[in-house]
C-alpha cells in the first residue's frame, strides 16, 4: 500500500526547502535569463539574421527556458540529497516506513515543481520580448515535466555519489553546463561545422532544447521521432536507477 501521507510530507519538505531560500533558488535564474535575453537576444540578436523564419531573440527563448530548468532541477536535487547526507538528517527518512520508490518519487516531484516554477518565471520574463504564443502547450508542459524528472534524478545520483562539495560541483561544471551550452541553446545546429553537428546530435540536451523549441515556436532542427522517445527512455532509466541506488543504500546507508 502506498504511504501517500509520507510521500506528500517528504514532497512538501522538498518544496518548502527551496521556496524558503527563493532568493538563492528562483531569483538567480530569473536575473540570468533577463540578462541573456537582453544582451544576446535584444542587443546582439538585432544584428543577427533570422533562423528558420524566426528572430534570434525568439530562437533563444526556449533554449534559455530549458537551460534554467535543467540547471535548477539538477542543482535542487543534488544539493538537497547531498546536504541530507552531509548533515546526517537523511537518517530521519531512512528509518521511516517510506518505500524507496516513494522516497525517490518525493524528491523528484520536489525537483519537478521547482522546474515548473523556473519554467513559468522564464516564460513570464520572455513575454517582455516576444508574443508568448505556444505552438503545442501539451507538449510544452510535458517536456518541462519530463526533463525536470531526468535532471532531478541525475541530481540525486550525483548527490549520492559526491563525498564533498568539490565532487558535487564537478558534474555541474564539467558535464551539465558544457552539454547545455553545446545543446543548441544559443545557436542553430546549421551554423556549426558538420563535424560539430555530429557531436551535437550525440548530446541528449540538444533534443530536449529542440523539442521545447518545437513546442513553443513550431520549428525543429532535430528528428523529433528520435528525440522524444530518447527523452522518455532517459527519464524512465534515470528514475529507476535512482530507486535502485536508494534500495542498495548507495553511500547513504553505512
Amino acid at each position: 500500500m502506498v504511504n501517500w501521507i509520507g510521500f506528500y510530507t517528504l514532497t512538501k519538505r522538498e518544496i518548502s526547502r527551496f521556496l524558503k531560500v527563493w532568493s538563492q533558488t528562483i531569483l538567480p535564474t530569473a536575473i540570468t535569463t533577463l540578462l541573456y535575453l537582453f544582451v544576446f537576444g535584444f542587443a546582439i540578436g538585432r544584428i543577427l539574421p533570422d533562423i528558420n523564419g524566426i528572430t534570434y531573440l525568439e530562437f533563444i527563448i526556449p533554449g534559455l527556458l530549458m537551460m534554467g530548468l535543467i540547471t535548477s532541477t539538477y542543482a535542487n536535487n543534488s544539493t538537497s540529497i547531498f546536504m541530507m547526507k552531509w548533515l546526517n538528517f537523511i537518517e530521519g527518512i531512512l528509518v521511516s516506513p517510506l518505500s524507496y520508490i516513494e522516497m525517490v518519487g518525493a524528491f523528484i516531484l520536489g525537483g519537478i515543481v521547482r522546474g515548473l516554477i523556473i519554467g513559468t518565471v522564464v516564460y513570464l520574463i520572455s513575454l517582455f520580448f516576444y508574443s508568448g504564443s505556444i505552438f503545442n502547450p501539451i507538449l510544452f508542459i510535458s517536456l518541462m515535466i519530463i526533463v525536470s524528472l531526468i535532471f532531478s534524478s541525475l541530481g540525486l545520483i550525483t548527490g549520492l555519489w559526491a563525498e564533498d562539495w568539490d565532487q558535487l560541483n564537478i558534474w555541474s561544471t564539467f558535464i551539465i553546463t558544457p552539454l547545455v551550452f553545446l545543446g543548441g541553446v544559443f545557436h542553430s545546429i546549421s551554423l556549426v561545422p558538420e563535424s560539430l553537428q555530429i557531436v551535437t546530435k550525440m548530446n541528449p540536451i540538444f533534443y530536449m532544447v529542440d523539442a521545447l523549441r518545437y513546442s513553443m515556436l513550431g520549428i525543429s532542427e532535430s528528428n523529433l521521432a528520435l528525440g522524444l522517445p530518447l527523452i522518455i527512455i532517459l527519464a524512465v532509466s534515470f528514475f529507476f536507477f535512482t530507486v535502485y541506488l536508494f534500495k542498495i543504500g548507495y553511500k547513504i546507508r553505512r
Binding site: S16, E91, L94, P97
Partner: protein, 303 residues
C-alpha cells in the same frame, strides 16, 4: 503478533574489512527493557543501525515483530522509534516542524501529528521553543527533541542510543523516570549506554558487547548474582601480629588495622564467628557488593 520484539540471528557487519559486529544473535521480548552495554567501538551503534535501516549488514537476519528488516522493511521500520546518539535534525525546519514532518513520514495525518507534537513538546519542556530553529537549542533541549521525535509515531519499540550522554543530572533522572513509565505502559525499550548505573537502574536484561561479540547476555539480577563479588572490610581495634589459623582459609588481605575479605557477603556470620573465636576486638564492619559497573569493567578487561 509475535511476542519477540526484535530477533537478531548471526548478525555480521564489516566496515572496510574490520568486523564491527561479529556473528551475534539475541532476542528481545515484547515489553522488555533491554540494555545493550559495551565500550566505545563495541558494535552497539552498528547493531542499532542495522536494525533501523541506517546501515546495511553483511550477513544474518533481523526481524522486528516477525517482519524482516530487509524484505519487509516498511513494516519493520513502522514499529521502531529511534533516538540516535548524534543529533541529526533537518536545519530547514523548526522544532515543531521537525516533529510534525517526522510523524508525517509514518503516514499519520497532519492534524494528529500536530496534536502529538504539542503533547510531546509540553512533556519534554520544549513547547516554548516550538518555533525556534535547531541552532537556538542547547544540547539538553536537543536531546529532549531527539527522544520526542522518536516517540512521535507511538512506536512499539523505542531504541535509545546513549540517551543521557551529555545531559545534566536533573534531565537524566527525568528521562529515567519517563522511560520506566513508558516501559510499564508496554513499550519495548532497547537502550545503549555508557552509564552502567543507568542500565542497572532501568533494565530487565542486559547484553554486554565487546569487540563485536557478546560477552554475556542475561537477566540483570541473575547476571549480578553470577558475577558479583563482595568485599567485607573489618576494622580491628589492634593490628594483627599473626593471622589465626581459622582465618587463613578465606581469601583476604590485611590493610593496616583492616582485615579485608573477598568473599560472598553470605559468609559474614561465619567470618565474624571465626574472628570472635580468637578474641579479636572489632571496631567497624563495612560490606561492599560489586555493581553492574564492576562486573562490566571486569568482563571487558578479561574479554
Amino acid at each position: 503478533m509475535n511476542n519477540i520484539a526484535i530477533s537478531i540471528k548471526n548478525l555480521v557487519k564489516n566496515y572496510d574489512g574490520t568486523e564491527a559486529v561479529n556473528n551475534i544473535s539475541f532476542d528481545i521480548k515484547q515489553g522488555e527493557f533491554f540494555g545493550f552495554l559495551g565500550p566505545n567501538g563495541a558494535g552497539k551503534t552498528s547493531t542499532i543501525n542495522a536494525i533501523t535501516g541506517i546501515a546495511n549488514f553483511n550477513s544474518g537476519k533481523i526481524e522486528v515483530f516477525g517482519s524482516d528488516v530487509v524484505k519487509d522493511y516498511r513494516k519493520a521500520r513502522s514499529y521502531i522509534g529511534l533516538s540516535p546518539q548524534e543529533f541529526n535534525f533537518d536545519p530547514f525546519l523548526n522544532v515543531q516542524q521537525i516533529l510534525v514532518y517526522q510523524c508525517g513520514y509514518y503516514g499519520i495525518p497532519k492534524a494528529i501529528c500536530t496534536k502529538r507534537a504539542k503533547e510531546l513538546m509540553k512533556l519534554f519542556g520544549i513547547y516554548e521553543k516550538r518555533n525556534a530553529s535547531i541552532r537556538a537549542l542547547s544540547g539538553g533541549l536537543k536531546r529532549r527533541l531527539t527522544i520526542a521525535r522518536a516517540l512521535i509515531h507511538k512506536p512499539k519499540i523505542l531504541i535509545l542510543d546513549e540517551p543521557t550522554a551529555g545531559v545534566d543530572v536533573e534531565l537524566r533522572h527525568y528521562l529515567w523516570d519517563f522511560l520506566k513509565k513508558l516501559n510499564k505502559e508496554g513499550t519495548t525499550i532497547f537502550l545503549t549506554t555508557h552509564y552502567i548505573e543507568e542500565a542497572e537502574k532501568l533494565c530487565d536484561r542486559v547484553c554486554i558487547l565487546h569487540k563485536g561479540k557478546i560477552l554475556e547476555i542475561d537477566d540483570k539480577k541473575k547476571l549480578m548474582k553470577r558475577f558479583a563479588k563482595s568485599q567485607i572490610a573489618i576494622e580491628l581495634k589492634d593490628k594483627l601480629k599473626t593471622i589465626p589459623k581459622n582465618i587463613k582459609k578465606y581469601n583476604y588481605k590485611i590493610d593496616g588495622n583492616n582485615l579485608i575479605f573477598f568473599e560472598d557477603k553470605t559468609k559474614i556470620n561465619e567470618i565474624l564467628n571465626s574472628i570472635k573465636k580468637n578474641e579479636i576486638e572489632i571496631v567497624d564492619i563495612n560490606i561492599e557488593s560489586s555493581s553492574l559497573e564492576d562486573i562490566f569493567i571486569n568482563m571487558v578487561k578479561n574479554g
